[in-house]
Symmetry: C2
C-alpha cells in the first residue's frame, strides 16, 4: 500500500468524525443537562457543526483522496479493512455531494418549520394544519432521492441512508410475509382466555429502588461504566462510541417497565457501541453497520433476554427482595406473563413485542405509498386508520394518536421506520445462529452469566464494524437473507404457552 494516500485519507476521515462525536456530545447535553435558556443558541451551534462537517467531508481534499483510492488498481491493493473504510466513506461522500447545498439548506429550514407545525397540529388534533407542511417535505425528499438516484423504487434512496445496501423490493417481500403470518397470531392471542395482570407492573414503585435495580441489571449484562454513564432524559437514547457511550432513561413512579426494559434496551445499543473496535475509532471499520443491526442489539437484550423466563429465574428473587410490597406475593409465572402482555394499542412506542411490528408495517406501507405518489397527503389519515383497523382491530379515534403520533415525517426521515422491524427480525435470526455456538446460553443467563452472549456479539457483530453491509452481514453470519421465519417462530414458541394457544 506504500505510495497511496490512504494514511492521510484516514487521518482526515477521523478528523471529520471527531467533529461528529463532538456534535454528539452537544446533542446529549441538550437532552440531559442544558439549561432551558440555551436552546436557541445551541441550535446555532449544532448548525455550525453540521455545516463545517459537510464542508470538510465534501471538500476537494476528500474528493482527491477518494478519486485515487477508488481507482481499481489502488483499491484492489488495499487490505479488506482499508477497502471498507474507502468504500463506506466514499458512499457517504457520494450522498453528501449529490444533494445540492441549496436543497440541504431548504430542507433544514423546512424541517424547523415543519416540526413546529407538526407539534401544533398534533396538539390541536388537526391534520389539515400539518398536511401542507408534509406535502412540501415529501416533495423535498423526492428531490433528494432523485439527486441520489435509485434502481427500482424512489424509497431505495431514502432507506439506504439508514440501512445501506437495502432494497425496497426485498423489504416488501419480507414485510408482506411477516404481516400475513402475524395478523392471525395477534388474533389468536387476543381471542385466548388468558389475560395477564398488567397491574403487577403498573403500580407504585419507589424511584430510588427502581434506579438501583436498573443499574444492577445493566451492570450485570456488561455495560462498561468506565466508558459510560446513565442520565435521565424525556426520550431515552444512547449516544457516543467506543470509549464514551452514554445511556439515558426515564423512570416512572407508577410503572417499573421503563426502569427494567428501557434501561436494558439502551444498554443493548450501548454495548454495541462499546464493542466496536477501538483500533478503528472514528472510521467506518469502527462504526455500527446500520440502524437495523443496532436495533437488533437493543431488542435482543430487552426482549429475547430481558423478557425471558431464564432471565427472570435469575432476577425475580432479587426483584422480590427489593420490592417485597409490590411482588413479594406474586408468582414468577404471573410476573412473566405481565411482562409479556400482548395488548394492541394505538401508540407505537407503547406497543408490546408481538404487536410492535404491526405498527411498523403500517408505517412502511403508508410511507411507501406516500413517497411513490400513490396516496395523496389528504388521504393519509384514512389509509392509516383503515390499516390499524384491519391489522390490529383498532379504531383510531384521532389523528393526533393516529398518523400524527410520530415525529419522523415532520423531521423528513422517511425511510427510517422499517429499521425498527429489521431490528426485531435480525435479533432472532442472530439468536438462532448464536445458540448453535453457545448451546447452553439459557443456562448461562439463568445463572446470571452474560459474558458468553456478549462475547459472541462482540466478536461476530460488533468488532467487524462496517466490513459488510447489512444484507451481506446477515448472509455472512446466519447463512440466510433477512426473513420473518425466525422471528415468527420465536413469537409462536414464546407466546403460545403464555396464552395457552397453539400459534
Amino acid at each position: 500500500m506504500a505510495g497511496n494516500s490512504y494514511p492521510e485519507f484516514i487521518e482526515f476521515e477521523k478528523e471529520c468524525q471527531n467533529a461528529q462525536f463532538a456534535a454528539g456530545i452537544l446533542a446529549w447535553d441538550q437532552e440531559t443537562k442544558m439549561p432551558p435558556g440555551g436552546a436557541m443558541e445551541r441550535a446555532n451551534q449544532m448548525a455550525t457543526m453540521a455545516k463545517w462537517y459537510h464542508d470538510y467531508y465534501t471538500s476537494d481534499r476528500m474528493r482527491v483522496y477518494l478519486e485515487e483510492l477508488r481507482r481499481p488498481d489502488v483499491f484492489d491493493a488495499l487490505g479488506p479493512e482499508e477497502q471498507t473504510n474507502v468504500r463506506e466513506t466514499g458512499w457517504q461522500y457520494d450522498r453528501e455531494v449529490a444533494i445540492p447545498g441549496s436543497l440541504v439548506k431548504e430542507i433544514a429550514k423546512h424541517t424547523s418549520m415543519s416540526l413546529e407545525t407538526w407539534k401544533d397540529a398534533r396538539a390541536k388534533d388537526d391534520f389539515s394544519l400539518f398536511a401542507p407542511s408534509l406535502e412540501k417535505m415529501i416533495d423535498l425528499k423526492v428531490q433528494v432521492a432523485e439527486h441520489i438516484g435509485y434502481e427500482d423504487n424512489i424509497y431505495d434512496a431514502l432507506i439506504d441512508e439508514y440501512e445501506p445496501g437495502t432494497r425496497t423490493k426485498d423489504v416488501e417481500v419480507v414485510f408482506a410475509d411477516l404481516r400475513e403470518r402475524l395478523v392471525p397470531i395477534v388474533k389468536k392471542i387476543l381471542d385466548s382466555d388468558v389475560h395477564p395482570n398488567e397491574g403487577i407492573l403498573a403500580q407504585p414503585w419507589p424511584l430510588e429502588k427502581q434506579k438501583e435495580f436498573g443499574i444492577m441489571v445493566v451492570t450485570d449484562i456488561g455495560y462498561d461504566w468506565s466508558r459510560g454513564r446513565l442520565d435521565e432524559a424525556a426520550h431515552p437514547f444512547t449516544s457516543g462510541a467506543i470509549d464514551d457511550v452514554r445511556i439515558t432513561t426515564r423512570y416512572n413512579e407508577n410503572d417499573i417497565r421503563p426502569a427494567l426494559f428501557a434501561n436494558i434496551h439502551e444498554a443493548g445499543h450501548a454495548m454495541y457501541q462499546q464493542g466496536l473496535d477501538p483500533e478503528h475509532y472514528a472510521t467506518p471499520m469502527g462504526d455500527a453497520i446500520g440502524l437495523g443491526f443496532h436495533e437488533s442489539q437493543s431488542r435482543m437484550w430487552e426482549n429475547l433476554v430481558g423478557r425471558s423466563m431464564p432471565f427472570w429465574r435469575h432476577y425475580y428473587p432479587k426483584l422480590q427482595a427489593t420490592f417485597p410490597g409490590q411482588v413479594g406475593n406474586v408468582s414468577i409465572e404471573d410476573f412473566y406473563a405481565a411482562a409479556n402482555l400482548v395488548k394492541p394499542s394505538l401508540i407505537r412506542v407503547e406497543a408490546d413485542e408481538v404487536t410492535y411490528n404491526m405498527h411498523i408495517l403500517i408505517r412502511f406501507e403508508v410511507e411507501l405509498a406516500m413517497m411513490n405518489g400513490k396516496v395523496g397527503v389528504d388521504e393519509i389519515p384514512a389509509l392509516w386508520n383503515e390499516k390499524y383497523k384491519s391489522y390490529l382491530g383498532i379504531d383510531v379515534p384521532s389523528d393526533a394518536d393516529g398518523c400524527m403520533q410520530d415525529i419522523h415525517w415532520s423531521m423528513g426521515i422517511q425511510g427510517y421506520f422499517p429499521t425498527y422491524t429489521f431490528g426485531n427480525l435480525i435479533s432472532v435470526q442472530l439468536w438462532n445462529t448464536m445458540i448453535k455456538d453457545i448451546p447452553d446460553v439459557w443456562e448461562q443467563i439463568e445463572a446470571g452469566r452474560f459474558e458468553p452472549l456478549l462475547g459472541w456479539l462482540n466478536e461476530k457483530v460488533h468488532r467487524p464494524g462496517r466490513m459488510y453491509r447489512t444484507p451481506d452481514m446477515l448472509e455472512h453470519l446466519t447463512g440466510e437473507p433477512m426473513n420473518a421465519d425466525h422471528w415468527i417462530g420465536y413469537i409462536k414458541e414464546k407466546f403460545g404457552p403464555i396464552y395457552g394457544v397453539q400459534l
Copy 2:
C-alpha cells in the same frame, strides 16, 4: 453602511464563535460528566475543534472581509459597535495568522508533553526534571512573541493575549507601587495581637446543608438558573456565555469556605457572562473585555460583597439557623474575622484577600525575568524562594510547593498571572465609582437586595462588551488608569479594624 461586507462578515464571525462555544461545552463536559475512558478521544475531538476554528478564522474569507472593513474609508463609516467587532476580530485574526502553523503545532505538542513532565517533576519534587521542558516552552513563547511583535517588552506580546491593550511598563509601575505599600501592611497585620479563630470555618459541616446554603446565596445575588446550572468539579470554573453559563464548585466536608466563597466567586464570573448583550451574542461586542475585568467581577462578589460585614449581617442569622451546631454560639464578629483571616501561605490558591496579590507580584516578577532572559531556568527556584522570604516572610521548603505549584508555565500561558491582580485592583476601583451612583449600596446589601449593584455592573461593565479595551474602559468608567490606590485604601480600611491596627 450599505454596500460593505459587514453583514456577511459578522455572520461568519458568529459561525466561528459558535464552534468555540461548542468546544466550551466539550471542555465543561470533560471536567464534570465525561467517563474516565473518554479522555484520550476527547483530546482528539478538542484538537479537531481547535484546528477547524483556526482554519476558518484565518481563512481567505476572513482575510478578505477584514481587508475591506479595516480600510479607513469603510471603517470610519461603520457604527461604533460594528467598529468594535471589526477591530477586535481583526486583532484576533492578526494574532492567529502571525504565528506560523508549524509553531502552533509544535507548541501544542510540547504542551502535552510539558504538562506530563510538570506533573511528574512536581510529584517527585524535582525541579531539574521540569527545567528542560520549561526552557523549551520559554523558547517557544519567545518565538510567539517575536512573530506577534511588541513595542517595548517581549512580555507585551504575551500579556496582550489575556488583557488586550495592556503594556508591561504600565503594569510594572502599578505593581511596584502595590508591592511597596503592601509589604508593610502584611507585616503590621501579622504583628498584631489579634488572631481570628480559623477553626470556626474549618470544622465539619454537613454537605447537603452546605449545598443548600450556597445555592441560596448564589440565587439571591442574581445568578440566573434558567440560563445556567451548578455542578461539581475538581477545579471550579465558569463556562459559557449569555444564555448558557454554567458554574462549578467543590465542596469540602470540613471547611465551609469553598461552598460560601468559591460559589460566589464563580457566580460573579457567571453574572458577567449572563450580563453580556444577547443582541451581540457570539461577537466581540457580546464578549467579556478581558481576564482582569472578569476577575474583578468574581472578586468583587466574593470579597467586597461576600466577605463584608453588611453581607453577613444579612446572612449570618440564616447561617446560624442552618448550622446551629457549628455557629449557633459564635458571634458575628468572630465569624467575620475568621472569614477575613490573613495568613501568609506558600500556596497561591489558598491565599487570603490581603496576601493574594503578593503571590501574583512574585509570579509576575519571575515571569518577566524569565521571558526577558534575565534569569536562567535553573535559577528560578532560588529567585522564587528569595521573593517569598522577602515579601511574605515565608521559607519555601520544596519546589513542589514553590515555583512548581501552578500549572500555568507548563501550559505555556506566561502572561496570564498578572490578570488576577488586575482583577483585585479593578474590583475596588469600580466599587469606588459605583458607590457614587449607589450611595446606599451597603444598606441594600444588608437588606439582601443585590439588584442595584448587579444592575449597575450589567449596565456599566457587562453590556458594553469589548467596546473599550481594558485601559480605556477603566479610564472611561472611573476616570483613572489602573492603580493600587483604591485597593490599598480598601485593605487598610477593612483590615485595620479587624486586626486593631492603624494600617
